[in-house]
């Protein structure tokens, strides 16, 4: 079965990688989870090219959900989607908290959820209370 892919975008390569490691552990290793943190040389920043490549890597044909952490990560993803990048992969950006949203998305994707339900699961994660 083709599963929805998840791309994690952060200013920090370590943050994106660390979150990818965490959600792969929680959601099984079937879901393509790709980290797109930092610049091409590994420094802090967001790289258009890295995100573009991550989207095609995460694409199994069931769509790709992007999650971003802060400012420039989100702006870069929005710019890229505006430019029509990821159209073939049906890539969409979730309006969701980075960690909780990624966990909810990957768990839903691992259960075979379609792109809309994976996105909805990520976005509902903003309602989780911690206390």
């Amino acid at each position: 079965m083709k599963l929805v892919g998840v791309v994690l975008v952060s200013h920090s390569p370590k943050l994106a990688e660390g979150l990818a490691e965490l959600v792969r552990e929680l959601g099984g290793d079937q879901v393509p989870v790709i980290a797109a943190g930092g610049m091409d040389d590994g420094s802090l920043g967001t790289s258009y090219g890295r995100i573009e490549r991550a989207v095609s890597e995460a694409d199994q044909g069931a769509g790709v959900l992007l999650l971003g952490d802060l400012g420039s990560a989100l702006l870069t993803v929005k710019t890229l989607l505006d430019e029509g990048v990821g159209q073939e992969a049906r890539a969409v950006l979730a309006d969701a908290p980075f960690v909780e949203g990624a966990v909810a998305a990957v768990v839903t994707a691992s259960a075979g959820g379609d792109l809309e339900s994976v996105r909805a699961a990520a976005e509902e994660a903003r309602l989780f209370r911690k206390l």
């Binding site: 920043g45 967001t46 802060l70 400012g71 702006l75 710019t79 890229l80």
Partner: protein
């Protein structure tokens, strides 16, 4: 002097736009430290470095692959900024330049009014992307009044170089006017009232671009 007069009589060719980007890159490099120190006060302290990297890459990209039309030049600049800056200013300025370039289409010569309308399209694009309005302490605080001044001057039929000079003056004073504002966008917005009392680095860099544009017009008109 023939092209120094009003509105659409002035035809700006691709060389004009290459000159603008060259001047902008030089200005950003010269002001790199100031932009970074403004950003260190309320942001993450990388605006000067990031923008310098972006404009240096943009200038190199234009030299490596000389564009045929003004619009193509600016689209190329925008794309390079998006992929090389690394911070939020990459997608923001990248969108400004790409939208201006797209609005100019494949025109070989661009009139001043046509350029002003294209800048309006660039501004609309960046506002849609970043969601900022006037007063949020961003580059939008510079673009809106500078563009208004440009459009008003062109409508009055003033000389083209005078109009762009006046717009750059407005841009510089608008950048300084962001000092007392409280940031409502970007990292500085987390600082709340502590963001007051500092000039916004994005507004400062936007003013540099307007000044570079006015200097480019001056260089052509005289």
């Amino acid at each position: 002097m023939s092209e120094a007069h009003t509105g659409d009589a002035a035809g700006l060719d691709v060389g004009f736009f290459l000159d603008w980007i060259d001047r902008a890159a030089t200005a950003v490099a010269a002001e790199k430290e100031r932009l970074t120190s403004l950003d260190a006060a309320i942001g993450d302290g990388d605006h000067g470095t990031n923008l310098d990297r972006g404009f240096t890459a943009a200038r190199a990209a234009l030299e490596a692959k000389p564009p045929e039309f003004p619009g193509a030049a600016l689209v190329q600049v925008g794309t390079t900024l998006i992929s090389s800056v690394g911070g939020a200013s990459g997608p923001l300025y990248g969108t400004v330049f790409r939208r201006i370039g797209k609005a100019l289409g494949e025109a070989e010569y661009v009139g001043a009014r046509q350029l002003a309308d294209a800048i309006a399209a660039g501004l609309a694009g960046v506002q849609k992307l970043g969601g900022a309005s006037v007063g949020d302490k961003t580059m939008v605080d510079v673009f809106v009044p500078a563009l208004d001044a440009l459009l008003a001057g062109l409508a009055d039929g003033a000389s083209v170089h005078g109009v762009f000079d006046a717009a750059a003056d407005v841009a510089e004073s608008a950048a300084r006017s962001t000092i007392p504002l409280r940031a409502r966008k970007g990292r500085a917005s987390y600082l709340g009232e502590r963001s007051e009392g500092h000039e916004d680095p994005g507004a400062a860099s936007a003013a540099l671009l307007w000044r570079a544009l006015a200097e480019t017009v001056d260089g052509r008109a005289r």
